[in-house]
């Protein structure tokens, strides 16, 4: 099976989506186990390919038997195997944990819900493993369409949030497509590696610059970088709980990964950083977003909104790491992709466990939950501490590597912003934890009678929370054995 690994990451999800939809229509109870099976198979393939790439280097897979650049190829190298593993594993845990929420909120037709979820994951993982520029667009649209509909299912305000996201997201896709067009007409190829091979002769062409700018603008929408972020808070806020819990950890990360892929594979080394302002803009926008997002999170009182703005801030850090355009910074950004996916998933799962038990989302009404839902809040606290960046959690190390990468480039500001964003994170997390632990539950409030959710919701949250610790302690092998070789020259 080894030579087929790249496609095996996608196939279970794609076939699973069809099967789940069909079976779900006539036997709704079969939808969830089938979906878990599909995601589990995909996760297994991802892990297998991670092992395989670490052992024998990148796996290239010519779809249809047509060698690139004639055909489309899938490339699983260290970077994509890593991101695919993170995405699939986190998705698996989140889906397990949100089953009850999905039953409650998405109710009567789980077949469609899980079908859409699997299509979303197909799209996201397709972006991760593909080696073709146009193929990225196709899978971007698959995941986007599924995402719009899933957000929409929140009803009420979610409907307009989904529509606004649809417009801006499709615009982002179209901008990306236009950018690919510029590159295609300049080079004549769509294959990423082949583009990189053919670009050096025409690097000073304005068309290449415009292509890069448009590609990054398009991906920037999906990544929710700061001037293009405004769709995100409403979308995360009003979407159904299982959808947000699934999207928040992985969706923006995959778009950020696509940006990194542009740096690593498509554009020749140094081009984006030296010949164009793209890398600088990314750096500035990312750092600005890290601060602005943190500040905005502090001003919110809805837990979901706090976490949404926190996502914007953290994605800003990832973008800054990509914009630094050095191997160490890329490794830092990748490590933060993983860290943030794990932390955010734990935070959202804990937040939605609270909502599941009490119906509350406002942090002012969460007083006393530390006593009522101790394990949930333990998961939340560990993840929050990691988000703040306290050693030895994983969150600390991703920030450490990022700051180091900035210092290595002689950019003080990066380290400074990383520190400031850590403080801002501490500020809004302490606000939450104070209420949860230090205020007593008001009499008769729903918080007073709450209890930890059932084990199948709680366990994934705890697994993710402890993963932040384990990954933090194991950061050296992950970074030095996996990531640095993967992004290295």
């Amino acid at each position: 099976m080894t030579p087929h690994l790249p496609i095996l990451i996608i196939l279970p999800l794609l076939l699973g989506a069809f099967v789940v939809t069909l079976c779900g229509l006539w036997r709704p109870r079969s939808a969830f186990p089938l979906a878990i099976l599909a995601v589990g198979a995909s996760a297994a393939a991802s892990i297998a390919s991670l092992v395989e790439t670490a052992r024998a280097g990148a796996v290239r897979y010519a779809l249809g038997g047509w060698a690139p650049p004639v055909g489309i190829e899938y490339v699983v190298d260290g970077v994509s195997a890593f991101v695919a593993t993170v995405v699939a594993a986190v998705a698996l845990l989140v889906l397990t944990a949100t089953r009850r929420m999905a039953d409650r909120e998405m109710g009567d037709r789980p077949g469609l819900f899980y079908g859409a979820v699997l299509m979303m994951l197909t799209g996201l993982l397709g972006i991760v493993v593909t080696g073709d520029l146009f193929n990225v667009f196709v899978f971007l649209e698959i995941s986007s369409l599924a995402t719009y509909a899933l957000i929409f299912m929140g009803g009420g305000r979610a409907m307009i949030a989904a529509f606004r996201y649809l417009i801006v997201g499709t615009l982002g896709g179209a901008l990306y497509l236009l950018g690919v067009g510029y590159l295609y007409f300049s080079t004549g190829t769509l294959n990423m590696a082949d583009t990189a091979a053919r670009l050096p002769e025409i690097l000073d062409s304005p068309a290449v610059l415009a292509g890069a700018a448009l590609i990054f603008a398009g991906l920037g929408v999906k990544t929710a970088l700061v001037p293009l972020h405004w769709w995100l808070p409403d979308a995360y806020n009003y979407a159904p709980s299982p959808v947000t819990a699934l999207m928040a950890p992985i969706a923006t990360k995959v778009a950020a990964y696509a940006m990194l892929r542009m740096f690593l594979t498509v554009f020749p080394a140094g081009y984006l950083a030296e010949a164009t302002p793209v890398a600088t803009v990314l750096l500035v926008v990312g750092l600005g977003g890290a601060v602005a997002g943190g500040a905005a999170a502090f001003a919110q009182s809805d837990l979901r909104r706090i976490l949404a703005y926190s996502s914007i801030a953290q994605v800003g850090l990832i973008a800054a790491g990509i914009g630094l355009a050095s191997p160490l910074a890329a490794a830092a950004a990748l490590f933060h992709v993983m860290t943030h996916a794990v932390m955010k998933a734990a935070l959202f799962l804990a937040a939605y466990s609270v909502r599941y038990r009490t119906g509350e989302v406002d942090i002012d009404r969460m007083a006393g939950l530390g006593r009522a839902m101790p394990w949930t809040m333990l998961a939340f606290t560990v993840a929050a501490v990691s988000m703040v960046g306290v050693p030895p959690t994983a969150g600390f190390f991703s920030k450490l590597y990022l700051a180091q990468a900035g210092l290595a480039e002689g950019l003080w500001g990066v380290a400074l912003v990383v520190l400031v964003s850590g403080l801002l994170t501490a500020a809004y997390m302490v606000r939450i934890l104070e209420r949860v632990y230090l205020r007593d539950a008001p009499d008769g409030g729903s918080a007073a009678e709450a209890a930890d959710p059932p084990a199948d919701m709680l366990a994934p949250a705890l697994v993710l929370a402890s993963a932040t610790l384990v990954l933090g302690l194991a950061n050296v092998p992950i970074v030095t054995r996996l990531l640095v070789p993967a992004v290295g020259p």
Binding site: W66, A116, F134, A149
Partner: protein
Amino acid sequence: MRVLSVIAMLGFAGLVVYATSALPLRGDPDAPAHRYLSPYYVERSASEVGTPNIVTAVLGDYRSYDTLGETAVIFTAGVALLMVLGRGRKRD
């Protein structure tokens, strides 16, 4: 917001017009896109795939995976639509 939008539009227009100065002239047979890859499809599709319509050959075989993705997009839209419209809606 309106001002920002107008600035974004102007910036976009400027970028695109600036970039087109470097694109090959329309119809130029020596454009990179015409000299690379495209001849392969024209010359080989008949013998390798066996369909005279080169577009079909590329769509259905060389880049068949894109087409699969595209079908998946349609399917996703269908699932999405069923989800969006199929529940809790007044029948009229």
